[in-house]
């Protein structure tokens, strides 16, 4: 008898929770994914209440805007070309050729995973500034050296090439590991050289991943904002221009530019999908052999490859070590960019002492990024569960809508939020969001949702169906089966994606610069104001922030790698 009563209360509870979840998801998608996009479209296409192309043609005919679009495209292409050259070299020396210490080398090549966005740009700008130790040193050796090189196109490209190659490493390295080594051996047994075997046998296999990663790199480069803003000088790109226009109150122009950026991104996204659909070469071998490292026979070439590899490592390592060391020097040394002579904890004490104004931006970033992650998790995981549980056509539509922020650039989403919630909206019970603490976390949540949905959904569909059937044959209802059997299996994925989201938003720049409320300034903005400041302490604080962000990045990277190993 008891069981029967429980069953019905439980059923009501279950249905209640499910309907509530569904309602919240639909409200969120409508308010924060669909409405902003329409906000941008209406700003771009409606002039005084009627549809017109006038705005667009006015913007497009501006010489300055044409230059910005051209800059952006050129930078995108240059970045892709250079990233491919660098990335292939990295794959060759870590996975194909036998280079001494390749484990450490590989580890060093992953530095871009912990040093990201504006924290990276701030650090590099400090180190490569006209008056920095490094440049003074080089100038001492080569008097003709232009110490002011870290500005404009060159500086932006430098940052892009060395630190935007994560897609390349992640995609292409995985593909390369799947190359069947026996095919390379076969090529060599038929008389081909190492390089020829790589070019003719291994390269075609990894080519599809090279193409996909190129498209992603291209889209990332187009949307670059921190680099052109901080070190671009006169070299402006679309996103930095959008931020500037929005700050100047010219939201219609910003909306049009963001639309152009969105259009280019979506076009290339579709190309990437098309490439993926065309399919990859699959190993036909019954027993694929793992890649074995090849020794370079020519001694001169061998030495040259080693030197190049280690030099590249220095390029990655020096900034990290230098920033770390500088963060322990006094503020004057930092401001003058002199060679450090003594070390002190002053900067850390200043930032971390309670009640200090320097700790505020960090706390702001933590709380805003934390809330953004939490909201994204609630909506993202709930959506993934709905997609998993309800097999209806309408859910497919929901799934597509949830991917909106994945194809639409962050700056356009941010502008959409500004345009839609400038004044009170009925969707938010009459409240406005501009100037409130909540706008930025919601923005972060919006751009994080697609990844969370995709990964959670994938891990849900990976759960062996027979586990659920087995629980249900033992008398467990669907709701309970989900809680007790399915949830524990997908928790590692959720934790790792949450950690990455939190870490990624900690120093996010594009959304932040458009949406932050001055009362709650986060790190992303402080990096910029601090590096332009003449207050030596503010200048020095930046280095401490970068070190903290790097440590968090490293911890998150380590934890997620461990968790992913456990999932596999």
């Amino acid at each position: 008898m008891q069981e029967k009563r429980n069953w019905s209360t439980y059923r009501i509870l279950k249905t209640g929770i499910f309907s509530l979840g569904l309602l919240v998801v639909i409200w969120f998608v409508f308010s924060f994914l669909i409405t902003p996009v329409f906000g941008v479209l209406s700003k771009a296409f409606f002039l005084n209440g009627s549809f017109s192309f006038e705005n667009i043609s006015a913007v497009l005919s501006s010489k300055a805007i044409q230059k910005v679009i051209q800059n952006t495209l050129v930078m995108g292409i240059a970045t892709v070309a250079m990233v491919n050259v660098l990335g292939l070299f990295q794959i060759l020396v870590t996975e194909y050729f036998d280079i001494k210490g390749s484990n450490i080398v590989r580890f060093i090549f992953f530095v871009p995973l912990i040093l990201t966005s504006i924290s990276l740009v701030t650090g590099l700008q400090f180190l490569f500034n006209e008056y920095s130790v490094i440049n003074s040193f080089i100038k001492g050796v080569f008097p003709k050296f232009n110490a002011n090189w870290f500005e404009g196109f060159k500086a932006v490209l430098y940052i892009h090439v060395f630190f935007f190659n994560t897609y390349f490493i992640l995609f292409v390295r995985t593909a390369f590991k799947k190359v069947d080594y026996s095919t390379i051996e076969a090529a060599k047994s038929l008389g081909s050289s190492n390089f020829y075997a790589f070019r003719k046998v291994a390269l075609p296999v990894i080519l599809p991943s090279i193409l996909s990663s190129s498209v992603l790199t291209f889209i990332t480069a187009l949307a670059s904002n921190a680099a052109p803003t901080m070190v671009g000088g006169d070299f402006q790109m679309l996103n930095s221009k959008i931020t500037l226009l929005s700050q100047l109150g010219k939201r219609d122009m910003a909306a049009i530019l963001s639309l152009i950026l969105g259009f280019i991104s979506i076009t290339f996204m579709l190309i990437s999908n098309w490439i993926e659909k065309k399919g990859n070469y699959v190993s036909v071998s019954k027993v694929p052999t793992k890649i074995r490292k090849i020794k370079i026979k020519n001694p001169i070439l061998n030495v040259l490859m080693h030197i190049l590899t280690y030099a590249l490592c220095l390029i990655y390592v020096v900034p990290v070590v230098a920033i770390f060391l500088y963060s322990f020097t006094d503020a004057n040394t930092i401001l003058r960019k002199a060679l450090p002579t003594s070390f002190t904890f002053d900067n850390y004490i200043r930032v971390f002492s309670s009640g200090s104004s320097a700790i505020k931006p960090m706390l702001n970033s933590f709380s805003i990024s934390g809330m953004g992650t939490l909201v994204a998790l609630i909506i993202g995981v709930a959506s993934a569960i709905i997609i998993y549980k309800v097999k209806r056509k309408s859910v497919k539509v929901l799934e597509l809508l949830l991917m909106i922020p994945w194809v639409i650039p962050a700056s356009m989403m941010a502008l959409g939020l500004i345009i839609s919630y400038d004044v009170g909206s009925p969707l938010l019970a009459g409240k406005a969001l501009i100037g409130t603490w909540w706008l930025l976390p919601l923005g972060y949540a919006v751009i994080s949702i697609p990844t969370i949905v995709r990964l959670t959904r994938a891990s849900l569909f990976n759960v062996n169906k027979s586990l659920e059937e087995s629980a249900s044959s033992l008398g467990s209802g669907p709701f309970r089966t989900f809680l007790v059997i399915v949830l524990p299996i997908i928790i590692p994925t959720i934790v790792s994606v949450a950690a990455q989201t939190f870490n990624g938003k900690l120093v996010e720049y594009t959304m932040t610069s458009l949406l932050y409320a001055p009362k709650f300034t986060p790190l992303g903005i402080i990096f910029k104001t601090g590096s332009e400041s003449i207050d030596k302490n503010m200048y020095a604080n930046n280095l401490v922030y970068i070190v903290v962000v790097m440590i968090i990045g490293a911890v998150v990277y380590g934890v997620t790698t461990k968790l992913r190993e456990r999932v596999d």
Partner: protein, 331 residues
């Protein structure tokens, strides 16, 4: 007692199981046997409730359980891949069904230990399931299915992930446990030897229908259809050309296609016994220890003979093949 009446399962337009009827008595070990894609697993999953049936009734002790969801059916299910919960210990895996029913901890412990002892995994209870070998995982899966004293134990190719030797010992173990508990067991396999070894009754499936139901002996000795005859055990097929030669040599008048088991075909030097004789040529003799397997060429086809002991014939030597007319099978 379990009874399926005219059960049909459809996937869209495709009918996977077409009008299946069978009855399993209490304490009986019933096997669904057939090649892959024949509908045997679908039928089992229909009994468990994992597949919805589009027609028919499934009666458990006279009550139609077809409308019930799996968790309401009181069945034990053993999966092909065991489906052990990776996040739980062996103890918690086995005790899962009891915990759901809010049984007290002491009772759960007692019951889990009883079942673990029955299945021979008592010492592994505190371990993680990933620490167990394949055979031990299999035992946990069986223990977990038995914990609720199900009226019906369903097993979907439970031995297919084990190596050959373990498979043989585990199938004996499964039969021992089932007989000891006296419950109804329905077992799915594509391995005919396994089916013969464990089953009280076998239902042979082909393309969604049952071709024959019977004890292993009936199925082997009196196959009702050509499919059953060819699927169970080895068989010689006599086409019309061989039948023509038989008719000529023996002065009889057979017509059509016939089948005969290799163990009913003997090699002889002289025509002594009354029966059918056929001349042929030895192509090959495999000595298999207890048996010898001879391949004899007759016209364009060959006949296999399986006999106890060693056979000594030089290759290409002329021999006589002998068999009894009563051993011929015709459909």
């Amino acid at each position: 007692m379990v009874e399926l009446k005219n059960v049909e399962v459809k996937y869209g337009d495709f009918t996977a199981v077409k009008g299946v009827d069978f009855k399993v008595d209490n304490g009986e070990f019933f096997t669904l046997l057939g090649p892959s894609g024949c509908g045997k697993t679908t039928t089992l999953r229909a009994v468990s409730g994992f597949e919805k049936i589009s027609k028919g009734e499934i009666l458990l002790d006279g009550k139609n359980i077809a409308p019930l969801s799996p968790e309401e059916r009181e069945i034990g299910f053993v999966f092909q891949n065991y489906a052990l919960f990776p996040s739980m210990t062996v103890f918690n895996n086995i005790g899962f069904g009891l915990k759901i029913r809010h049984i007290s901890k002491d009772k759960i412990r007692k019951r889990v230990e009883d079942v673990a002892e029955l299945t021979g995994i008592l010492e592994h209870l505190p371990k993680k399931v990933s620490e167990l070998s394949g055979g031990q995982q299999q035992r946990v899966a069986i223990a977990r299915a038995l914990i609720l004293n199900p009226r019906l134990l369903l097993m979907d190719e439970p031995l297919s992930n084990l190596d050959a030797k373990l498979r043989v010992s585990m199938r004996g173990e499964i039969k021992r446990i089932q007989k000891k508990l006296g419950i109804v067991a329905i077992y799915v396999t594509h391995d005919q030897e396994e089916a013969m070894a464990v089953s009280d009754k076998i239902a042979v499936f082909n393309q969604g229908v049952i071709e024959q139901i019977g004890t292993p002996k009936e199925i082997y000795n009196n196959p009702k259809t050509e499919f059953v005859c060819k699927f169970i055990g080895a068989i010689n097929e006599f086409d019309e050309k061989i039948i023509e030669s038989i008719n000529k040599e023996n002065n009889i008048d057979l017509s059509g296609k016939y089948f005969i088991r290799p163990e009913n075909v003997h090699l002889v030097k002289k025509e002594e016994e009354k029966g059918i004789y056929l001349s042929g040529k030895i192509i090959d003799i495999e000595f298999l220890g207890a048996f010898s397997k001879s391949q004899i060429e007759v016209g364009n086809s060959s006949i296999i003979s399986l006999e106890i002991g060693e056979k000594n014939y030089p290759q290409n030597s002329e021999v006589k093949v002998f068999f009894k007319e009563t051993d011929l099978l015709k459909f």
